[in-house]
Amino acid sequence: MAKHELILLKNMTSPGYTGSLADYERAGGYQALRKTLGKIAPADVTAIVVKSGLRGRGGAGFPTGIKWGFLPKDYQGPRYLCCNADESEPGTFKDRQLIERDPHQVIEGILLACYAIGAETAYIYIRGEFALGAAILERALSEAGAAGYIGRNILGTGVNIDVWIHRGAGAYICGEETALLESLEGKRGLPRVKPPFPATHGLYGKPTVVNNVETLANLPHILNRGAEWFASIGSPPKSTGTRIFCVSGHVRRPGNYEVPMGITFRELIFEHAGGMRSDKSLKAFIPGGASAPFLTPDHLDVKMDFESVAQAGSMLGSGGVTVMEEGTSMVWATLRLMEFFYHESCGKCTPCREGSSWLVQTMRRILAKRGRREDLETLTDLCQNIAGRTVCAFGDAEVAPVMSTLKYWRHEYEDLIREAESLGLSGVPELVLPAGRY
């Protein structure tokens, strides 16, 4: 296994590192803030981030500096930065580690982003379940405030930035940027129709940037070491830098691995994560969180950069790689994800709200050996009528597992339906628990 330099996980992997302000400063923390505030013009900070090629690490992969550039230049009123710490995508657990182990790295990133976009207020929207993470961040914010990194006239530069924590209350959809803003405004987390985009009409209708935790954590390093340095890592020009991939499922060493983008899934799963946990071989993997279509062992040599994974028919998404061994029922695995999406659909758009319920019911029937031949057609039909017909990307996300398992493991669905027919139970209503929370 090639040795890679760790950037985001470096501090926390050094022995004795506690994530305190003193530890962070000893490791070179807040130097980027000192070098940048009042010394580099905000527009130039944005230019540096554009040049670095940094793309959002939350899921969609939009270029960060370009996103900042969409904010109106001449707008006089308040602007906001929201740090998206609502990590809820099944398979993903990297932001939690960044927050709990090295909170100041995230805070420094937030301050740099605020400076670049001219925001004087930042909210960290953290999922409500992360009580420990919220407490750690709260402590880190007060340390940073006492040291003069947050608040009025930061480091004597005349720059003012307040950073507040806002805890969510258990809703996956609030990780979607416009739903996050609605939730932050004290409402149900329903996504907004875009356009207008948050860059012009965001929080309280003001220009707003929403960035993921890992995206922001990269900023101090980019400002410290330069755009060229960052752009030389990974798979330039479109997938620069490292990414933290979260490996879960049937592997020997699940966990967070920071690697340059562009290594192969084979290297990540079999070298970093120690390979399969038993003597069973790999059957399937999800390359980027529950919203990403499943891939097969034939895709193990696909490079882990935005373009290569898209070419293979899936996406890097949030960076959650879930591995399944031979013997795992793909119909069962898909149903588990469908139950997640059904439970978490916000209900705003009919295709997603009703479709997710029908997907769960049809999948449950097939798995309970009550399936009918026409069920596969129904599933395909449902997927085609959900994807692309909703306000946010949730609709596309929920059909991804179904479409991909129907493509690669259709025979598993067919076997279950054949079994139902041979038992004479095809189409017989099964006794199932009510869908959703039970």
Partner: protein
Amino acid sequence: MRLSEKYKDQIADILSRYPVRRSALLPLLCLAQQEEGYVSEAAMKEIAGILKLTPPQVYETVTFYTMLNLKPVGKFHIQVCKSLMCALVGSDTLLGWLRAKLGIKPGETTPDRMFTLSTVECLAACGAGPMMQINDDYYEKLTEEKVDRILADLKRDGTSPLKSGPFMLPEPVNSKG
């Protein structure tokens, strides 16, 4: 006691963080739940008054978020993650242990009102499953022995040293598992 009396300073501090009062809704609902273990009708009405909202505006928000309980729960609210990633490594088995040990099904509370059992979707602990959250704490990489110890600890001390600290996975080589 009314929230606005007991948490006067805290409420003022929360309100000061937002330019729009309604933004304080989730934080205030959290306070209410912290106080009573759930969000009561009286609390919703009081919060509506503080934020100048109608009670239905508060209620429609409460019903959207799964962490806000509309009815009382036990002293310890056990939430088991049942999403695919935890299911691959044994969350169904974990749920089976809890059902047997507590004698209740998901959605129920033990007669002594000590434990409520729920299943939930992804808690961002996918590499460390099977796992559960009890009140504010995460418990990860669970085995039957660990579950026994945690339940005994909670009954006896109200807390357990087996709860997760700051997350790190894979764990550093020299740390204990």
